[in-house]
Symmetry: C2
Subunit: 384 residues, 2 copies
């Protein structure tokens, strides 16, 4: 097989043969399209897939940062098996003669900047995000006019099951953001937001609240004046007492969140429009945005969640006037396979009286199962 290695593949270090000797109890992936047998997953978490490509000279299964050289049979069908993967959801792809493509057997997910394949490695705790026969909320696809971009934008809004039958009741809101190169679809697709909340609410473990999931990739958000950061007419020197490294302004997502998203939600849905009923959280890049936005707007959000998104320090909070008086919870989480400082960061914050909660997702890395579990934990302490 090595002779068939493509030039593009050879440039990467992590090309290995397809794994042999895996436990032969493979079953179709639960993220497969209806009726598709491949990809498959075994009890060890290994992934096996197939692709018919009689004319290709190299087909690889590209998952978990490793490319496995698939093997061709006499019918031109290539088969490849990976090493065991972490439990939870992974983006992956195939590679045919140097070209990356989705595995046609799976449904389509947006991540890594493109629509592609995903595979779910079942975990012992996966029950918490399954679709169950409990009172069902709904996720709305909602368009709205954005003044800051002079365009229509799209968000997804989770409404708890009881929302439609309580026309007199108003609800708290969690604004929940995706990571880099993902989009507003992620949390309700691979994140299973609605199922996590429906199940928690049905068991009485979370109070009913609304979740708003929007698009936060700031470099793709084009602000118009006067919302765009001002371009100085000539290069500015930092004035005495001002930090020279100050950015030109808040990032575009912060502008849209405060100018458009929150006002739209508070106008069009039955929400309690104050800081004590408003939370901001996000994963990875979205956690970093959460940190910056809540510190820059210290009296706007009583609940803060950073999932694999860094930590908030004592100095951060002490520099943000009013943050501590407003805040009810600072939640910081990480997968155990990341390099988490979240537990010690939470400990430090508690010493100054912040209600900080650290959470480690056991056995997972910088991936969606870490973030589903983070939402599951965070949701139970929100708006209490």
């Amino acid at each position: 097989m090595l002779a068939a290695l493509s030039a593009g593949a050879q440039q990467r270090n992590n090309v290995v043969p397809s794994v042999t000797g895996a436990v032969e109890d493979f079953k179709p992936g639960i993220t497969n399209q209806p009726g598709r047998q491949y990809p498959m997953v075994n009890s060890q978490g290994a992934v096996r897939t197939q692709l018919r490509a009689p004319q290709a000279s190299s087909v690889q299964l590209d998952i978990g940062g490793v490319r496995y050289e698939m093997v061709k049979d006499e019918n031109g069908v290539w088969t490849g098996t990976s090493r065991p993967q972490d439990v939870g959801f992974h983006y992956y792809q195939l590679n045919v003669d140097g070209v990356s493509l989705p595995d046609p057997g799976t449904i389509s997910f947006f991540g890594a900047g493109r629509w592609g394949s995903g595979i779910e490695i079942p975990s012992a705790d996966m029950d918490f995000w399954q679709v169950k026969n409990v009172p069902q909320g709904a996720v709305e696809e909602k368009y709205y006019w954005s003044k800051a971009t002079e365009s229509m934008r799209r968000c997804y809004v989770y409404l708890p099951a009881e929302y439609q039958n309580n026309p007199g009741k108003r609800y708290p809101v969690l604004y929940l953001q995706h990571g880099n190169a993902e989009n507003e679809v992620g949390w309700s697709s691979q994140g299973h937001t609605a199922q996590i909340l429906d199940n928690l609410i049905a068991e009485g473990k979370a109070v009913p609240f609304i979740v708003v999931m929007d698009y936060g990739q700031s470099q793709n958000i084009h602000l118009v004046p006067p919302y765009a950061p001002q371009q100085p007419a000539q290069p500015q020197q930092p004035r005495q007492g001002q930090p020279g490294a100050r950015a030109a302004g808040p990032d575009a997502f912060q502008v849209v969140l405060l100018t458009d998203i929150i006002p739209m939600v508070e106008r069009e849905y039955r929400v309690v429009a104050d800081a004590q009923h408003r939370a901001l959280a996000g994963l990875s890049m979205g956690g970093g945005q959460t940190r910056r936005i809540t510190l820059a707007n210290p009296t706007k959000f009583a609940y803060v969640g950073m999932f694999s998104g860094g930590v908030m320090s004592v100095e951060d909070i002490q520099a943000a006037a009013g943050f501590q008086q407003t805040n009810k919870v600072v939640f910081m989480s990480s997968g155990s396979k990341e390099n988490p400082r979240v537990m010690e960061a939470a400990e430090s914050l508690r010493k100054i009286g912040v209600n900080a909660v650290g959470y480690i997702s056991e056995g997972t890395a910088h991936e969606w199962h870490t973030w589903r579990r983070s939402l599951f934990e965070f949701a139970q302490i929100l708006f209490r």
Copy 2:
């Protein structure tokens, strides 16, 4: 280029060279991912795309039933240009060394049984399905328990903008089905149901109503007893007077529609639960299902829509007791590039007093722009 033709491609008749001499006013497709330049469309409706694949020996642009041989430059980037395409939405794909794959430049659509690429060829009338700054309804992703399949199923529900602010008002419902090898996502994605209705309602051209879009691919719907068709203990001979070709029972989608979908909608949404406020329509296979289900349940639906889905005959209606007394509209449509009998079929039905409407979508074939236009027309005569 012909020497590079793959064996798989040679088995198809319609492989042609990439088109030369196209008008050079190509612009990025409106179905592209944010920030992607390719694929592009020119003013003639020709499609041009690119793929970097230095090691491939054949790359084709596969659109409109034709495979165009793309041409490789010195950097290993392949470029291909199609002939002009019909206005509207087309599924398409690339083919690398005999393997079909999505074009990584576009967002992902479900059709032809897989998630893949789509391209929109702008049409003079495309304004009617654009997202505009008018009162916005929302499309809900909704799970519900199905007794007939003993599983949770998913549908999409369009709620008009005024729904949330009129807790005392009840609405009529259109049940709207996709075509073969599509799914419940299609109508609100490539179909733009919400935009078509938001825009019509904002202009006062349609009354506000709810649209329910579910999954109708009957071979993938597994009924459980007693809803599954009875398997006879031994082969049955047709009895005298009974047609021997009688099917084992209604198709699985009909069972789910009547057992689960309609009862769920009438329980969980504020609807008027009678035939005069209930419509069934579908495209292609969904139009055929509409015909069979409304004829088999002649007093359940006052409005019937078949988009590129065949026609209903005088004999059909006369054999279905109560159909004509219940029915308010039979709407039958087709693209002008199909072989439509819809106008003459409507004329025949009008002669027996049915309020039948035929509609021809000019310049389109068996594709989504025909069906968007059909919904646009049908919506204006619904529930009046």
